[in-house]
């Protein structure tokens, strides 16, 4: 059952001469929630953005090593196809302000020029919005602009936009750090639902969140993957002293 979906082999990432992710080897099992935590500047976001090749969009950024998605090396694929298979949700909600809520959900199809019959579009929109528990709230205002929603709703709209493409993996870059506590708990509940169909990799610097939502946790420090284990194991009995120090709040 526990088959690996994403596997990084000796993955290194750089900003110019700055070596930010060092030799990361990690196996991510299918239909799990993986939390990636660590102090600011430890390379966790860079690693996450490396998985769907968003890292190299930044001028001067380079990467080496392998990231296997099933049997294919992401580094050898064209980024456009990688990003269709690996969806991403960002720190701040970023719905397209020029599109309606409806068009935001199917933006991946619409903006890519993929034509779908109306019934199919309706189905995808309802299905995706239901998945993120937003359908009931917005079903009467689908023609309104995405920016009309509250911050938490916008973030769920962005998750729906990623889910609509039926990716295999969903990446979350501190998805709740710009949200209020109530919206945060709504989004966290979503993770449990979403993992039935997708594999979720979540970067967070909120340890409680990592403990609450994840099956496995990876701890990054100074660009290295220090420890990677079952979340329960990690929080109760960390093997590395650096992990222990981080969890007990000796540095952050």
């Amino acid at each position: 059952m526990e088959s690996t979906i994403v596997k990084s082999v000796d993955y290194n990432a750089y900003f110019g001469d700055n070596h930010v992710v060092k030799n990361v080897n990690i196996d991510i099992p299918r239909n799990n929630v993986i939390a990636v935590m660590g102090p600011s500047g430890c390379g966790k976001t860079t690693f996450l953005r490396g998985i769907n090749r968003m890292h190299e969009l930044i001028p001067g950024a380079t990467a080496k090593g392998k990231i296997m998605l099933n049997a294919e090396d992401v580094m050898e694929m064209h980024p456009i196809f990688v990003r269709l298979k690996i969806g991403m949700v960002f720190q701040r909600p970023n719905p397209f302000p020029n599109l309606s809520i409806y068009d935001n959900v199917i933006a991946g199809y619409k903006l890519n020029g993929i034509k779908l019959p109306k019934a199919e579009k309706d189905r995808i929109v309802e299905h995706s919005l239901t998945r993120v528990a937003l359908w009931k709230e917005v079903k009467d205002s689908l023609t309104k602009k995405g920016s009309f929603l509250s911050g938490g709703q916008q973030q769920r709209l962005c998750i729906a936009r990623a889910v609509a493409m039926e990716p295999e993996v969903l990446l979350f870059d501190e998805p709740t750090s710009a949200l209020d506590p109530i919206s945060t708990s709504t989004v966290e509940e979503l993770f449990h639902e979403l993992k039935k169909n997708y594999t979720l990799i979540i970067v967070t610097h909120n340890m409680q969140q990592a403990a609450r939502v994840s099956d496995k946790t990876a701890f990054f420090y100074m660009g290295e993957l220090v420890e990677y284990d079952e979340t329960k194991q990690m929080f109760t009995n960390p093997k590395d002293t650096r992990t222990q120090n981080y969890i007990t709040g000796r540095f952050s």
């Binding site: 001028p59 397209f96 020029n98 903006l111 890519n112 920016s147």
Partner: protein
């Protein structure tokens, strides 16, 4: 204590005086515009009627006549200039905003800034040597090219500045959905910045509508109706220049009327741009 009190009064007085000065100077900038408007409307409005807009100028000695050829000529020359400058300008602006740090962007940005400062008469001379001489004569198209060169920096800089202000998260949202670069630009970035881009285009049109110098030795002017882009063509600024400096009263009237039309045109474009920018602005 008393001296302190006086001191406070003096400081408040100084502050009020300074404020009054800024208000006075702000008002005084409006004065020349209002005078120009009143003066030209007074002199020109009475000359404008249907006959004026639809007839050709009459030869010296005959009264009446209109500016139909100049009006149409101006519209044609500006349309052709826009067709040349708008795609060039917008694409260049997109390049500058999406490749901020590249060497090419640095140099082309510098060139655009310098181009903006080049006197219009110099651009006219360049167009004369590039187009008029090789083509063997004055032509409307060479005037359009000269005006297009004048439009470019305005369109480029306003496109660049508008698109730069859009948050990077918007670009990332597009890339994360697997959009290729050209779709991120055309489907996400440009639609979100469309109001700023269009306002730059409109302002550049308003800017060149009254340009005379580049047209003097390119489009040259023509007392008759002409639709041939390869032949000389009349335009409003040329008509004003030629007729206002002539010794005939009838021609002065035509020049006043044409000035009035040009002024209304530029004013309307500016107001339209303001309204449109507000209406089409995408709320981020």
């Amino acid at each position: 204590m008393i001296s302190m009190k006086n001191n406070v009064k003096y400081r408040i007085g100084k502050s009020t005086g300074f404020q009054a000065l800024t208000i006075l100077l702000a008002c005084s900038c409006v004065v020349p515009l209002i005078f120009i408007l009143i003066y030209i409307l007074q002199a020109g409005l009475t000359k404008i009627n249907w006959h004026f807009l639809t007839n050709l100028p009459k030869p010296v000695g005959e009264s009446g006549g209109g500016i139909a050829n100049a009006l149409l000529g101006s519209i044609i020359i500006i349309l052709v200039a826009s067709v040349i400058a708008i795609p060039f300008g917008i694409l260049c602006g997109i390049y500058l905003s999406e490749n901020r740090k590249s060497r090419l962007a640095y140099w082309s940005r510098l060139c655009v800034d310098i181009l903006q400062g080049v006197p219009s008469i110099v651009i006219g001379i360049v167009a004369y040597f590039w187009l008029v001489k090789p083509l063997g004569g004055f032509s409307a198209i060479s005037g359009s090219v000269a005006l297009a060169i004048m439009m470019l920096p305005i369109i480029i800089r306003s496109t660049e500045e508008t698109l730069k202000l859009l948050p990077d998260s918007l670009r990332e949202a597009g890339f994360a959905l697997g959009l290729p670069f050209h779709r991120v630009v055309l489907k996400v970035i440009v639609p979100c910045g469309i109001s700023g881009i269009l306002s730059g285009v409109m302002l550049s049109v308003a800017r060149i509508a009254g340009e005379t110098a580049p047209l003097l030795f390119t489009a040259f002017g023509n007392p008759y109706m002409s639709f041939n882009l390869l032949k000389p063509m009349q335009s409003l600024p040329l008509l004003i220049f030629n007729y206002a400096t002539s010794p005939y009263n009838d021609w002065h009237d035509l020049a006043w009327g044409a000035s009035c039309i040009l002024l209304i045109w530029v004013l309307a474009l500016n107001i339209f741009t303001k309204l449109m920018t507000r209406k089409w602005k995408v709320q981020l």
